[in-house]
Homo-oligomer: 357 residues x 2
């Protein structure tokens, strides 16, 4: 890729034009679909904002076939220099909070501002339920139809770590394909939020004004992660309650110590279905990016996230390699039996097993 | 060790007599102190409730000298068949809550009931502060003087995992030395509580009746671990507030789902300094043991804890071995640099480093 090309791409950043689709590269991809893909062609096509090529590359990333993964690796490497230029926004909330409606409203607002928006999801349960998030694309009808929007359901996988890796790699591909805003959706279940938080720049928690104690039942960890809490469905009879919840959450947030980002988390109210308050939330996200870019926290956080994923991936693989060795599997059972019958301690058993490696 | 000896030890369980000190074994240990210890002699002496031998064995467990650790290993192996017979109680609370006074009051109460009580501590910070918990033994004067009580400050160590391992091994030694009740004290800081929780049968959270919102600022995770919450300093002007806090905490506990132990956690009030409410708390501990022994949860939990420590130890060692390899150390730095400059992804870097093993 020439320097001119790169600078042209940089200029494109933040601009809505995806007209530059390279017809010849699409045809080239289509004709090669059945055969093995030429990585260089795919890379060029992705950089040309070709959605077919992008989808195809994501499919390779999500594949379990080692040959596909090798191709994915090559494509990712080629895309890397053009990645890292979007704003990555994590959005979470319990089922029923209106995540899809909110994302559609935010997405449409951003499209109207000339942005290109990709929506991904992390939902490891989707392999069981056949896609509970974003699986039903009709939920975001208007976004799906827009050529400057790209929606992809959650990768499936046996482990949250595996799903996370695939999503992280998909972010790189989407960024190389010129998407300015990457939204990662997740449901407020288990470790999903922590995983999403570790791959986004900005984390938005969607809440409803509930009956009674607003703070009851909310996981403290999630409040600590949220950069903005948006109370959705703040319309009609619900508006007053939403405003009260806003005050209560703001007070709760004030109790937390100052963050290293220097950003004081905010509480906002909105009605995604009525398109109200969406602009104010985008304004907050922009404020956040401005502050954290100026104090260098934005880049620092991305760097820390990269280190985190490097270490996490290594640690997970070390464990998998060890515990999946047939010899270890067999001896582990024996040692557990010995521990149960007071013949050894967990520590002596660990030492014994480690020496078998 | 003969079967008669073992059955004699079992009969001794719960009885206050430690008179059976074997004089000859003490002398034998003293004369050998400068030389390498004879493990068999140490084991016999520990089983004879010889405190000098017990202390010496704990020192070996805490040593960094590989030769000492080998001896410790042999002694632990010999003690194992006589361990596992105590009740292990974890006690936590923020500084100022009156942990030492409470443990002294509970310890003295248990001694009066004919129990033998060992008090250990987990406080990894003690290597820096020269022992903030139990370091100042004068804080538990009455306990220190009693021959049926044994107090040992926190092992020091570079890692919480290392300190935890030493404490777990010390529990085995104390149990072999005929202690019926092992109290593990910790401060409410960081991961300490989780570590202590993973090695005790019963977990007690000490609290004060504070001003204002009782539940504000308490870590939810700790409430979930507590089998009993005891509100200390419930005396004088404070009594009324303590009773209110008791009601509030009880309500909060009721919101949690039923535990697999079938034990419904209780909230108690006490004044350790006035020796009030200590008997009621001991009664609750006994109730807990009765219920969980009958439904087999007690043994199940110990088994799960053993498995947890086995897996934890292996995982920690795998990481240490990997990241301390000089080649990996060097290449890790390079890969981090490459990630920072967008030349590789965290995942590709991880794959690369893992292949270097």
């Amino acid at each position: 890729m020439s320097k001119e090309k790169k600078s042209a791409l940089q200029e494109n950043k933040g601009v809505s034009s995806s007209e530059v689709t390279n017809e010849s590269s699409i045809n080239s991809i289509k004709s090669k679909r059945k055969k093995s893909l030429d990585a260089a062609t795919v890379i060029t096509s992705i950089l040309d904002k070709n959605i077919t090529a992008l989808s195809r590359a994501i499919t390779l990333v999500e594949s379990k076939n080692p040959k596909h993964l090798q191709q994915a690796h090559t494509i990712l490497k080629g895309c890397l220099p053009y990645a890292n230029r979007s704003v990555r926004i994590g959005i979470t909330g319990v089922p029923g909070v209106g995540k899809s409606t909110f994302i559609e409203a935010l997405g449409k607002y951003l499209l109207s501002k000339g942005k290109r928006v990709a929506v991904l999801a992390i939902d490891p349960s989707s392999s069981v339920t056949k896609g509970s998030i974003l699986g039903d694309k009709t939920r975001m009808e208007d976004l799906v139809k827009d050529k400057n929007a790209f929606i992809r359901p959650s990768a499936s996988g046996d482990s949250l770590g595996g799903v996370a890796r695939k999503t992280r790699e998909t972010i790189i591909l989407c960024e190389a394909a010129g998407f300015d805003i990457i939204i990662i959706e997740t449901v407020g279940v288990g470790q999903n939020e922590t995983i999403v938080h570790s791959m986004v720049d900005f984390f938005l928690l969607l809440k409803l004004a509930g009956a009674g104690d607003e703070l009851q039942g909310i996981k403290r960890g999630i409040i600590e992660m949220a950069d903005v809490i948006a109370i959705n469905k703040a319309d009609g009879d619900n508006l007053k309650r939403a405003k009260l919840a806003q005050i209560e959450f703001s007070r709760a947030l004030d109790l937390y110590p100052q963050r290293s980002s220097n950003w004081q988390p905010k509480v906002s109210i909105c009605s995604a279905i009525k398109n109200e308050g969406i602009d104010a939330i985008w304004k907050l996200i922009q404020d956040y990016i401005k502050i954290t870019s100026q104090n260098n926290y934005f880049d620092l956080k991305r760097n820390e996230q990269n280190k985190y994923w490097l270490i996490q991936t290594i640690e997970a693989q070390l464990k998998t390699d060890f515990f999946n060795t047939p010899k270890i599997k067999k001896e582990l059972k024996k040692q557990l039996k010995r521990i149960e019958t007071n013949q050894t301690t967990p520590f002596a058993a660990a030492d014994y097993l480690l020496k078998l490696q």
